[in-house]
């Protein structure tokens, strides 16, 4: 009965109801986007860090991985210290740098990682072989396209260029073994990987036995935070970063987007609330006589309140359902804009759809729908019956 009356009231003014639903849908879309922005960035980053099972990373003291050109000296000694901890299962030392590859009369520059292929966590092989031998180089599709080369081709690779003598330094002939996808690679970024020993040999004595980053897998059931604390006490020249600390640092750096999401989300919710309240209030004012008649024939106050709250909730739910689709489309568009941040890993999504985010947005909207019905319902329930009927009769 209550639902039927609420439905009749909404259908009576179709265009008005549709406009209100549209308004709520836009507010809901904005709210969903902002909930996705506030939670998605962190979740996407966490998934990325854990995608290969490395829970702790070591960078030169006071830096973040690959934030600077600084390196950690004594790879063998550091590895020996780390191996003494039974909670540490696997260690992957990574050396970062840049290389020049000759492609005909052109010179193509690329970022390069020196890795141990048996424990690496920086790329996934798309086809072909991994960099098992010292003369192998794996490249991403972008670099392969820039080189105009094919798998199995031999290329001239140099680790440096001397502008005075106009010659390449640390030259090697390497065979392209297979295309790879770099997990932390940015869009339109040329990337290559080779064995760490090969890169060391090409880079000269100053890069020998050094690493830009260590990635550590801990034993199942071990506490990564305890391992991190232990490393910091054992190795004073490194900064140990666990997934939790990395997320905290990213949170701090990107706090602007989180705060923006919070403010715009709150504004959207308020706008939706205001819109539904206005619509239901106008509707109650118009039906003052009708409500007075209902009350006069014995319909309880609770019944009237429930009917009006149902109206508010119905508009909010219809708007929320419509807003969900709209929100996903706008989130995709906004994500495409933010994904073009220079140096941002391709796998990072600012707007990540999570069912929890959608439920949160829907829950907030339903709560707002109920709240928006409260004021008009209270007004309707407290209408003086006789006076309202008299006014209606005069009108």
């Amino acid at each position: 009965m209550r639902t039927a009356l609420a439905q009749a009231s909404l259908i009576r003014h179709r265009s008005r109801t549709l406009l209100a639903v549209l308004g709520v849908a836009i507010a809901a879309a904005m709210l969903l986007d902002m909930v996705m922005l506030a939670t998605g960035m962190r979740e996407s980053f966490r998934e990325l860090l854990l995608s290969r099972g490395f829970e702790v990373r070591l960078a030169p003291k006071g830096t973040l991985p690959f934030d600077t050109d600084a390196t950690i000296p004594g790879v063998k000694a550091v590895t020996a210290v780390l191996r003494s901890n039974p909670d540490i299962r696997e260690i992957s030392a990574v050396m970062g740098g840049s290389i020049h590859i000759q492609a005909g009369d052109r010179d193509v520059s690329s970022a390069v990682l020196g890795i141990d292929p048996s424990v690496q966590g920086d790329y996934v092989s798309l086809s072909g072989r991994d960099v098992k031998s010292a003369d192998a180089i794996a490249v991403n599709d972008y670099l392969l396209g820039k080189l105009g080369a094919r798998i199995g081709d031999t290329v001239n690779v140099a680790s440096g260029y001397d502008p005075q003598t106009r010659t390449y330094t640390g030259q090697r002939k390497l065979v392209i073994t297979g295309p790879v996808k770099f997990i932390y690679g940015a869009k339109d970024q040329a990337g290559a990987a080779m064995r760490r020993e090969t890169l060391e040999a090409m880079s000269g004595p100053e890069k020998r036995d050094r690493a830009s980053l260590f990635m550590i897998r801990v034993r199942k059931g071990a506490d990564a935070e305890r391992v991190r604390d232990w490393i910091e006490t054992q190795l004073p020249n490194v900064t140990a970063i666990s997934v939790a600390t990395a997320i905290a640092q990213v949170d701090q750096r990107l706090s602007y987007f989180r705060q923006l999401a919070f403010i715009l989300g709150a504004v959207s919710l308020f706008v939706g609330f205001l819109l539904v309240t206005t619509l239901v209030t106008v509707s109650v004012n118009e039906r003052a006589g009708e409500i007075a008649v209902m009350r006069a024939i014995g319909v309880s106050k609770t019944h009237v309140v429930q009917q009006i709250v149902i109206e508010g909730v119905a508009i909010s739910v219809a708007g929320a359902v419509l807003g969900l689709g709209l929100g996903l489309v706008t989130a995709r568009y906004l994500n495409a804009i933010l994904s073009s941040f220079p140096g941002l890993p391709m796998a990072i999504d600012f707007f990540l759809f999570q069912p929890r985010a959608a439920w949160s947005a829907l829950g907030l909207l339903i709560a707002s729908g109920i709240a928006s019905g409260v004021y008009p319902a209270w007004r309707a329930a407290s209408l003086p019956i006789a006076e309202s009927l008299r006014r209606e009769a005069i009108a």
Binding site: L19, L22, G23, A27, S255, T278, L279, L334, I337, P342
Partner: protein, 142 residues
């Protein structure tokens, strides 16, 4: 170069958010204006029954809508200016920089006020023409 690209991305993101906000505000304003005019269906019916012409009724409502839009714009500009001060104070303290994050410029104010006027008048016109065309007795619910 990278910093410049970063600013470009942030700027594009802000523009996109701005467009979404404008669309949302437009629908909101349209809704409120239509509701406001719709609420006065009995007054309009009474005016029409007294012999006031349709065009006079429409004009009255449009002027009223424009006044509401102007008043809302003035309040909105004041609120925007205060919010802008707060945003600058907050982010300048957070990032320890003298950079201004939000600036209320004359073109921004003119754009906001013009948009709100156009939408207000448009919504008032739309709703009043619809009501003025409806027979007065029907507006009374008879």
């Amino acid at each position: 170069m990278e910093t410049s690209r970063t600013f470009q991305v942030v700027s594009r993101f802000h523009r996109a958010i701005g467009v979404i906000t404008i669309v949302a505000s437009s629908v909101f304003l349209l809704c409120i204006m239509v509701l406001k005019v719709d609420e006065r269906r009995r007054d309009i019916a009474a005016l029409r029954l007294m012999g006031i012409s349709r065009s006079s009724v429409v004009r009255t409502i449009v002027i009223e809508s424009a006044l509401v839009a102007v008043l809302g714009s003035v309040l909105g500009v004041a609120l925007g200016w205060v919010t802008s001060l707060f945003v600058n104070w907050h982010y300048q303290a957070l990032y320890r920089t003298p950079l201004e994050f939000s600036i209320v410029t004359a073109p921004v104010v003119v754009f906001a006020v013009s948009l709100s006027l156009v939408l207000g008048i448009g919504a008032g016109l739309l709703a009043s023409v619809r009501l003025a065309r409806t027979p007065p007795l029907q507006l009374f619910g008879r």
